[in-house]
């Protein structure tokens, strides 16, 4: 990861151009795309995966249950606006905070687990959240929460899908900036250090347990933000809104995009989302059995992981980064001066 970062620092121009291009594409896409729901889901996945990629790539902790925090954010909006009459904007701002607070609370015991145990612990957490949602009527019960009001201030409310899409894009931008600043800070160095050697990090003065909980809560805050946005975009929240498969998808997106990079989450979310959409279209062709869709989805996940591990073990962003670096190097050699 470090060689990548130092290489990035030494040749900023092509990267800056790529980022500008991506921003322009992201802003234009909603205006030309026929299906905004797909695009919105992709942007929200990108927000979640940016946090997850930071958690996995920099602090070395995995979570198979980010959906639990997406749910926490969505419930904050759904229950907050329908039951407690919170103004929609306040509910949206509260969503990441509630999710982060929830993560901090469960993180204290959960983060004593390591590796696979932690991954399964977070998955168990998601299942518990689902169970709680269908059991307790406050959280919607089996029917879920509906009647979530549109986002707005006073009488001015958001109409249509487009404003939500741009709001989500703005949030994604904010989340990327926050991740960048977090990683390149004293706190971020502490996180990376404890992934390298917990003992050495501690003796350098890094409060290991607190740092782990903090980064866990931050990534949960991103998930909660995505959840809050989704509750306004699709104003219905039920236990089925957060299937475990979606949380696995986040992990696959993070790995495919490349852990330990700021942009890996976005790239992974785009690649996997587009691929799934294509598969969806193919598998819903007439003549194919209804089981075709899930089978193809699982097969794709398997194939993606194997391909990624074989050809791009560090993920797309670092590999492309290194590839572009080599190309530029060759161009310089062939065309001196």
């Amino acid at each position: 990861m470090a060689p990548v970062m130092s290489r990035v620092m030494s040749r900023p121009q092509p990267r800056t151009a790529l980022v500008v291009l991506a921003c322009v594409a992201a802003c234009v896409a909603p205006l030309v795309l026929p299906d905004l729901t797909f695009f919105m889901r992709m942007v929200m996945a990108a927000i979640v995966v940016t946090g997850l990629s930071m958690l996995m790539g920099y602090s070395g902790q995995a979570s198979l249950g980010q959906g639990a925090f997406v749910a926490a954010g969505a419930l904050t909006v759904a229950v907050g606006t329908t039951r407690f009459e919170l103004p929609p904007l306040v509910a949206l701002l509260a969503a990441p905070l509630v999710a982060a607070g929830f993560a901090a609370l469960v993180g204290v015991p959960l983060l004593r687990l390591h590796g696979h145990y932690l991954a399964f612990g977070t998955l168990a957490l998601l299942l518990m959240v689902q169970a709680a949602m269908s059991t307790f009527d406050v959280l919607g019960g089996a029917l879920g929460v509906s009647g979530i009001p549109p986002l707005g201030v006073g009488d001015r409310v958001v109409v249509g899908q487009l404003p939500y899409v741009y709001l989500a894009l703005g949030c994604l931008g904010l989340v990327l900036l926050l991740s960048h600043r977090t990683v390149h800070s004293r706190f971020g160095r502490g996180i990376q250090a404890l992934a390298g050697s917990q003992t050495a990090a501690e003796s350098a003065g890094v409060p290991v347990n607190r740092s782990k909980v903090t980064i866990f809560a931050l990534s949960a805050g991103y998930a909660g933000l995505a959840g809050g946005l989704s509750a306004f975009f699709t104003p219905y929240v039920s236990p089925d809104s957060f299937p475990a498969l979606e949380s696995f998808t986040y992990v696959i997106m993070a790995v495919v995009g490349g852990l330990g990079t700021i942009w890996g989450g976005v790239v992974g979310a785009v690649i996997v989302s587009v691929l799934l959409q294509v598969l969806n279209t193919v598998s819903s062709q007439p003549g194919l059995p209804p089981t075709a869709a899930p089978i193809m989805q699982y097969a794709t996940y398997g194939a993606l992981l194997v391909l990624a591990l074989l050809f791009m073990p560090r993920g797309v962003v670092p590999s492309v980064d290194a590839g572009v670096g080599r190309l530029l190097e060759r161009a310089r050699v062939e065309a001196p001066g």
Binding site: S185, R186, G190, E202, A204, G205, G260
Partner: protein, 257 residues
């Protein structure tokens, strides 16, 4: 400055430290020697807080630190260079050393997000000082290289630089010269003398007894987890018990290799 009283630590049936008492004065350079398995690293890990003693107590500048976790002891001025390389993989040499400044800086996540002037100033100061620390151990040219895959000698020096970045009051050096070439050893010895001259209290564990006797004010000798001698280098090296412990294992070594 540092006072260890009747401290014991055992692993299963093995006493790694048994009734170890030790008093180190402010500004002292204390050598700690003893054969392999004598309990030197265990003693250091107990002082730094990575191990909990079964009995006994440790105080630093008059305050008990027994119950403090390692990162709080670091804030109180304790730094350790581990015997094994414990570097932060995935980070550059400079970043590794910048982590060492954690003990004396404070910016958290909120200031990372908003980057107020105080945070920027602290970051600049940490970077500059980390570069100075790398320079002191002769690794400045490699500042942007990744830490993994460094030759052993450079790993040791990087660890020393990381410890220095915390500006410790008490520096624990566990065999810092192992894996270093002769020229590097001399440089390290000079650096240790210089740091101690500037007021840092140092505990030095080193296999190279010649290096320890030339640097240390006093030497503590451990064998099988207990202190068998404590005194000036001249006193210790002529102590019959020390000679016996060393010759005993020396003969063992010869037989093994």
């Amino acid at each position: 400055m540092l006072k260890v009283e009747r401290m014991s630590k055992h692993f299963g049936g093995v006493y790694a430290n048994r009734d170890v008492s030790l008093e180190v004065a402010e500004g002292e350079l204390r050598g700690v020697i003893g054969p392999n398995g004598a309990g030197k690293s265990t003693l250091f890990n107990l002082i730094a807080g990575h191990l909990r003693p079964d009995a006994g107590s440790i105080s630093l500048a008059g305050a008990h630190i027994d119950r403090l976790p390692p990162h709080v002891r670091a804030r109180r001025g304790v730094a350790i260079v581990f015997q094994g390389a414990r570097l932060f993989a995935g980070m550059s040499l400079l970043q590794n050393v910048m982590v060492g400044a954690h003990a004396r800086s404070r910016a958290g996540l909120v200031s990372a997000a908003f980057r107020p002037p105080a945070q920027r100033r602290e970051e600049r100061e940490i970077r500059t000082q980390a570069e100075q620390c790398l320079d002191r151990v002769g690794l400045l040219e490699l500042a942007d290289r990744p830490a993994e895959g460094l030759p052993l000698g450079q790993q040791r020096r990087l660890q020393v630089a990381r410890a220095l970045a915390g500006r410790p009051r008490l520096l624990l050096l566990d065999e810092p010269a192992s894996g270093l070439r002769a020229a590097e050893r001399t440089q390290l010895a000079d650096l240790i003398r210089e740091l101690n001259g500037a007021g840092t209290t140092i505990l030095l564990v080193e296999h190279d007894v010649g290096m320890v006797t030339s640097l240390a004010h006093r030497i503590t000798v451990l064998d099988l987890g207990t202190v068998i001698a404590d005194g000036t280098p001249a006193e210790v090296t002529s102590d019959p018990a020390v000679v016996k412990a060393y010759l005993g294992t020396g003969a063992d070594h010869a037989a093994h290799h």
